[in-house]
Homo-oligomer: 427 residues x 2
C-alpha cells in the first residue's frame, strides 16, 4: 500500500480539523482509498494548539526548511492564511517538488498564477478546493463534474458571516449593528469584520470560482463590490411583503459581450433555491448550457467541514498521479483577451421618501421613461407625520447605468427627500 | 492535441442529447480540455432519429462488431437502456478494450460487478455518472469531492416522475390518478408507470449511490420499497397543516449495526432543503462525518442535462489516463460481510378513523405504550356524519417493528374503523 506523508503548516481552526480528520481516518483510507495517509509533521508556533491536538513531539517541525527537505513529506497543507509567510512557504514547498493543498482564498485569488507556474515547472500539484465554500466540492464539480458545459452563470452565497447576519436580521428583526455584535461574540464574525461585511472575502472566492468556470483569469479587482452594512430593517420588511429575501450574492455571468462579475446584496425571490440557504450555510447556483440549473449547498466554514475539502484534495493528489494542476488548462493569455461588462443588466428595487405633493410621481415616472427604465411593480406607503410617503419600485431588467442616472436625477427633484436604497433583484 | 473518438449506441433522448453536446462543443473542448473530441460513429436502427440529428451517413455503423473493431473509437457510450442488448454491447466494448460510459441504471444496479470485472481485466474504464440524478455530478462528488468522509447517510429525491406527481398533487389538489394521466400525456411518465411510481427506479439508483457512498455492494434487492400510489389528498392536506410535504425519498444510512436502505414516501419538514425540491428536479442530501450536511440539486432527467453527465464522464475518461474505474476500491468481498438493518428507526405519521366512543383513545394509547412508541403530536378532527373521527399521530423515533405491531393491534380494536395511513417522517 502506498504511503503518503502530509505536512500541515498551521494548526488553527481548519489546520486542526485537517489534523483530526487525517489521524482519525487512517484505517478508513487504507480500506477505501488503498493509501496509508499519515501526518508526517506539523509546523506551528503555538504550543497550546499542538498540545490540544495531542501531536507527538517528534512530529513538530522546527521550521519550513525542515518540512520541505523531509523526503517523507509528499504533500504540504498550508493552513496559515494571509499572503505573508503563507506565500513564501507555499513557494518553498512547490520549489521542493511537493504538491500543495491550501484553504487560503486570498493567496489563491492574488497569486495563483505565480504559484501554478512553479507547480508546473516542478511537476507537482496545487489544490485549493477548501478556499471556496468550505466543505462543498464546488471546484471539483466545475473541473470534473460539469466540464462538458459552457457555464453561463453562477450565483453564490459564499460568505457565511454575512449570510448569518442577514438571516438573523430577517428572522429576529434586529438591526445590522446588533446582529454584528452578537456574531462577533459568538466568533462568527471577526473583530474587524470588514473583509466579510464589505464583500472582499466574497470577491476572492468569486475570482477563483469564475476563473475556473469561465476558463479565463478573473482578477478580484475586476469585481464590482457592495457590502451589507447599509441594509436596513425597512428593506428587509418590504422584501418580505414583496416576496423577496436579501442575500449577499457573488454573481458571475459569461455573456456574448463579455464577463460580468459582481458581489452585492440582492433581493432573491423567496421560492428561489438560494432563498432558503439560511444561517451560516453557503450555496452556489450554476447554470450550464447543457445541464441547465444545478445547486450545491453545504457548510461554508468550520474545522471539520473545511477540513473535509482539504483532505479530499490531499487524497485526490495522492491517488491521481497524472493530474498535476487543479485549475483550468490552456489559458496562458486568456486574461489579456478577457472583456468585462460593467454596464450590466438587472432588475432593481428602489426605495425613496418623497413629499406627498401632486405631480411628484409624474416627474419620477418621466425620468424612468427617459432612461428606458420600465417599472414592474410599485407600492406607495401611507403618509408619515411629516407628510412624507415611501415609494417602492421594482423595475424590469434594465442597464446599471440607466438606473444610476435615473436615481441621481430623481434624487435632485424638488419633492424627493431621499433615495433610501437601491438593490438588485433576482427572480 | 489528443484525438478522442466516441461511439454512441442508441440515439434516443439522452443519446441524441449526447450527440448534440459533443458535436456542438468540439471547438470549446479543444480550447478548455485540450482534446479533440468527436463522434466517430453511431449505432441506431431508427432512421428518423439519425436524420433528425443530421448524422452523416458514413458515421452510421452497421453493427456492434463494426463499432468495437474500429481503432478510432476510444470510448463507447451506451444509451440503449434495459439489460438485453445493452449488456451484450457493453461487454463487447469492454472486451475490445474500449472504456464505456453509460446512463443505464438498471444495467449498473444489476451487473456492475460483472462489467467492472471485465473492465479491470482489460484495463479500461466503466463510468456511469448519468445513471443517477441526471446532470447532477453526484457520483463524481462521492468519489472525488467527499472521499475524506465516512458517509453517514444520504437522502435523495432521485425520481423526477414521482416528484412531479407529488408536487402537482400538493399544489393543485388533484388526485394521484388525475396527475398521473396528465404526466403521461406530457411524456413525464411512461404508459406503464410501475418502475417509477412503485419505486423500482429509485431502488436502482439508491443501490448504485449507496454502494459508492458506503464502500460496499448494496444489491437493489436488499432495499425496502414502497411506492406513491396510495398517497391521498388527505395525507397531503394534513401534512400541510402539520408543516410537512410528502416526498418519495431514497434513504441510505451507515449505522453501527449495519446498512439501512429504503425507498418510501416520507413526510419531510417544510423547512428542510429537500422540501423545496419541486417539479421534476432531483436532489441528494448527504451527511458525512467531517463535512456535515451537503446537498446537490439539479435536473434529474432530460436530453441535455443527462447528456451533460455522459459527456463529463467521456471527458474525464479521455483526460485522466490513470483512473480506470469509476467505482469503489478494495471491496471484492465487501458484499459478503455487509449487514443490513431492516428493523430501522424512524418517526412516523399515523392516520386512523375511529368511532367516537369513550375509551377508544385510551386503548390506542395503551397499545402505543406497550410497544414503546412515544407520541410527539396528536390531532383529533371533528366527527363526520357517521360519528367517526380522524386521529392523527406523529411519533417520536421508534422501531419499524414496534410501529407495525402497534398498527396491527390498533386496527383490530373494536372501535377503530381503519388505520388509513402510515408514513415515515424526516425533520
Amino acid at each position: 500500500m502506498k504511503k503518503v506523508g502530509v505536512a500541515i503548516l498551521g494548526l488553527g481552526t481548519v489546520g486542526g480539523g485537517t489534523y483530526r480528520i487525517i489521524t482519525e481516518h487512517r484505517e478508513f483510507y487504507q480500506k477505501t482509498q488503498d493509501i496509508d495517509l499519515d501526518v508526517e509533521c506539523v509546523l506551528e508556533l503555538n504550543k497550546d494548539r499542538i498540545a490540544a491536538l495531542g501531536v507527538p513531539a517528534e512530529k513538530v517541525a522546527a521550521n519550513i526548511a525542515e518540512v520541505v527537505s523531509n523526503p517523507n513529506v509528499d504533500i504540504v497543507v498550508e493552513m496559515i492564511g494571509g499572503i505573508g509567510v503563507a506565500r513564501t512557504f507555499v513557494q518553498a514547498a512547490l520549489n521542493a517538488g511537493k504538491s500543495v493543498v491550501t484553504s487560503n482564498k486570498e493567496l489563491i485569488a492574488k497569486y495563483s498564477y505565480e504559484l501554478e507556474h512553479i507547480a508546473r515547472r516542478k511537476n507537482c500539484g496545487l489544490y485549493y478546493e477548501a478556499s471556496c465554500v468550505g466543505g462543498v466540492p464546488i471546484i471539483r464539480t466545475l473541473l470534473d463534474g460539469l466540464q462538458a458545459n459552457c457555464i453561463l452563470s453562477m450565483m453564490g452565497i459564499v460568505n457565511g458571516t454575512t449570510n448569518y447576519i442577514l438571516d438573523k436580521m430577517t428572522n429576529e428583526g434586529a438591526s445590522y449593528e446588533e446582529v454584528l455584535k452578537q456574531a462577533q461574540a459568538l466568533g462568527y464574525a471577526e473583530l474587524d469584520p470588514t473583509s466579510d461585511v464589505e464583500g472582499f472575502d466574497s470577491t476572492y472566492k468569486l475570482s477563483i470560482l469564475s476563473s475556473m468556470a469561465f476558463h479565463t483569469k478573473i482578477p478580484y479587482t475586476k469585481i464590482y463590490r457592495e457590502g451589507i452594512t447599509t441594509i436596513s430593517q425597512e428593506d428587509i420588511a418590504y422584501g418580505k411583503e414583496l416576496g423577496y429575501v436579501i442575500k449577499l450574492l457573488a454573481i458571475g455571468k459569461n455573456t456574448p459581450s463579455g464577463i460580468e462579475v459582481r458581489v452585492h446584496p440582492t433581493y432573491v425571490r423567496d421560492n428561489h433555491p438560494l432563498a432558503s440557504v439560511n444561517d451560516a450555510f453557503n450555496a452556489v447556483y450554476i447554470t450550464g448550457d447543457a445541464v441547465d440549473d444545478v445547486m450545491l449547498y453545504g457548510r461554508g466554514a468550520g474545522d471539520l467541514p473545511t477540513g473535509s475539502a482539504v483532505v479530499s484534495d490531499v487524497i485526490f493528489a495522492a491517488t491521481h498521479s497524472d493530474i498535476k494542476y487543479s485549475t483550468f488548462k490552456n489559458t496562458a493569455n486568456a486574461d489579456k483577451q478577457t472583456k468585462f461588462v460593467t454596464n450590466f443588466s438587472s432588475a432593481y428595487y428602489l426605495r425613496m421618501t418623497v413629499n406627498d405633493k401632486v405631480g411628484t410621481l409624474g416627474k419620477i415616472a418621466t425620468i424612468f421613461a427617459r432612461q428606458n427604465v420600465s417599472i414592474g411593480e410599485m407600492i406607495q406607503k401611507d403618509c408619515d407625520e411629516n407628510g412624507n410617503v415611501t415609494l417602492i419600485f421594482i423595475t424590469h431588467e434594465t442597464k446599471e447605468q440607466s438606473i444610476k442616472t435615473a436615481v441621481s436625477k430623481i434624487a435632485s427633484l424638488e419633492n424627493v427627500c431621499k433615495v433610501d436604497s437601491l438593490l438588485r433583484v433576482v427572480s
